[in-house]
């Protein structure tokens, strides 16, 4: 039995979205998905096979093709979260769509931040001989990671969807205040207690043309993956919010009518 037949009497919004229950995909996300696969395949092949090993860093330079794009996406995701949250809070009509985009973007951002930290520390072990350095950029990234884990925890607090949106929106905006303060204090802290590093991560690195192109392709591929994931995730959030709103009664009604028709 089709879902749309069960939904008589439910709101129009509800029945419209229930017709898409079979998938959260649309024409646009399918195009993005296919493009992401193609570009990602190119990055994998070029990054592992076509590009040369680095003169100084050797094979470990290949980590960069994952590390740099995921760091870029992680920061982009948190900017998207902050902007979407401010739209939710400051706009006259508090549209929950912005809250869902903020939440979806933060979830994806936390994942890419984890990838950034893991690939970064692996690269550090190979290049510096240590998994971790108290470099301001590293430390700030780690704090950003923990802050957004807290943000996701706030989204899971009990309460209505509006409460979730308001609380997490405020937290996202406070994070925008917090991160520069953390970064500044760590920079200041390190400037007084600087240790010699084997290789300066901010140093001027000359890059081969193909390497640069692969890195750029990596950024494009990861951005496509990010867009694809966020679009789908905010749609699944919409569905789960709707199913929560709809409640148990409607579920029982649906089951009853299903039984009656059989």
């Amino acid at each position: 039995m089709k879902a749309s037949q069960v939904n008589t009497g439910v709101s129009l919004k509800m029945s419209q979205s229930s017709q898409k229950f079979s998938s959260t995909g649309t024409q646009a996300t399918r195009v993005i998905g296919v493009l992401a696969i193609v570009v990602m395949a190119w990055v994998v092949i070029s990054g592992l096979v076509f590009t040369p090993a680095d003169v100084v860093q050797g094979e470990s330079v290949r980590i960069m093709y994952v590390h740099v794009p995921s760091a870029w996406i992680a920061y982009l995701a948190f900017i998207v979260t902050a902007i979407a949250s401010s739209f939710y809070i400051f706009a006259k009509r508090h549209s929950l769509g912005f809250d869902r985009v903020a939440g979806a973007s933060a979830e994806v951002g936390v994942m890419f931040m984890a990838i950034t930290l893991i690939t970064g520390s692996l690269w550090g072990r190979l290049t510096w001989g240590e998994f971790w350095q108290w470099d301001p950029r590293l430390t700030t990234t780690a704090f950003l990671f923990v802050t957004y884990i807290g943000y996701l925890a706030v989204r899971r607090l009990d309460g209505s969807i509006e409460q979730r949106a308001r609380r997490s929106g405020v937290i996202a905006l406070l994070a925008v205040l917090e991160i520069p303060l953390v970064h500044f204090s760590v920079v200041f802290w390190r400037s007084l207690h600087q240790r010699a590093t084997i290789l300066d991560p901010n140093g001027d690195v000359k890059m081969d043309g193909l390497m640069l192109f692969t890195l750029f392709s990596g950024v494009v591929a990861f951005t496509l993956v990010f867009a694809w994931l966020v679009l789908h995730r905010q749609r699944t959030m919409l569905l789960s919010d709707l199913s929560n709103e709809r409640g148990l009664d409607n579920a029982i009604l649906a089951r009853q009518s299903e039984n009656a028709s059989n």
């Binding site: 809070i89 704090f143 923990v146 802050t147 884990i149 807290g150 925890a153 706030v154 607090l157 009990d158 309460g159 209505s160 509006e162 409460q163 308001r166 609380r167 405020v170 937290i171 905006l173 406070l174 205040l177 917090e178 303060l181 953390v182 500044f184 204090s185 760590v186 200041f188 802290w189 007084l192």
Partner: protein
């Protein structure tokens, strides 16, 4: 609506919080011994007089931050029981004034706590302070506790009345108070002259503490109302 003046709300909330503390004596009878115990436990863990003297500043502020969680949670547990916070909202008063009152009360309790912790550092860790260092130390304590009072009240209000707040509050607050820990520790070390630090080095850190307090004072006053008003 005819609103009560902000200053009266601030002082009423402040007096209420301090009166509850004066009558229940939870901070004096439980949080202070807890913080003192942390200082003793650090001595067991580090087990070296020179190291203790060197890191005393950091230990004082870590103990302060751990105690902050306990005080904030207790303060909001009182406010959410019997829907006291809801009654304040029904009264139609300015919630940012409630925020300021609670933050000042929290700051005053933290200052009292820090006086004891610093005294404990003198006794247990053999730190020393010059006259110029003392001025720096007092300023640092005031600025750092003000910042902690603001963020503590803000995030305490956010998690108040939710399930799992005991575990969520430290997760949310620790990353936010990291700048206070770094700056207050460095300023305190400068005041103590730990590791040959000059007193003058500490003032830049006090500046950072002031910025932190200002940012979260303004941010908190704006955000507290929407957070509580649900």
């Amino acid at each position: 609506m005819n609103q009560t003046p902000r200053s009266r709300v601030v002082s009423a909330v402040l007096t209420k919080d301090l009166r509850i503390e004066a009558r229940s004596r939870v901070v004096t009878n439980q949080v202070l011994p807890f913080a003192g115990l942390i200082m003793i436990m650090f001595a067991f863990a580090l087990d070296n007089d020179d190291v203790l003297q060197r890191v005393a500043g950091g230990l004082i502020w870590l103990a302060t931050i751990f105690s902050l969680f306990v005080i904030v949670q207790r303060s909001f547990a009182i406010d959410t029981s019997d829907s006291a916070l809801d009654s304040l909202r029904v009264a139609g008063i300015d919630l940012s004034a409630v925020f300021l009152g609670k933050a000042i009360a929290l700051t005053l309790q933290l200052i009292a706590l820090d006086v004891v912790l610093i005294a404990a550092a003198f006794l247990l860790y053999q730190v020393q302070v010059s006259a110029a260092g003392l001025v720096l130390l007092v300023t640092c304590v005031i600025c750092a506790t003000t910042g902690l009072g603001f963020v503590g009240t803000l995030y305490g209000g956010l998690t108040a009345g939710t399930t799992g707040r005991e575990t969520l509050l430290p997760l949310l607050l620790l990353p936010v108070v990291a700048p206070v820990l770094i700056a207050a520790t460095r300023a305190t070390e400068a005041a103590f002259g730990s590791g040959g630090a000059a007193t003058s080095e500490g003032w830049a850190w006090v500046g950072l503490l002031t910025i932190f307090a200002a940012v979260f004072g303004i941010g908190g006053s704006l955000a507290f109302g929407p957070l509580i008003d649900e």
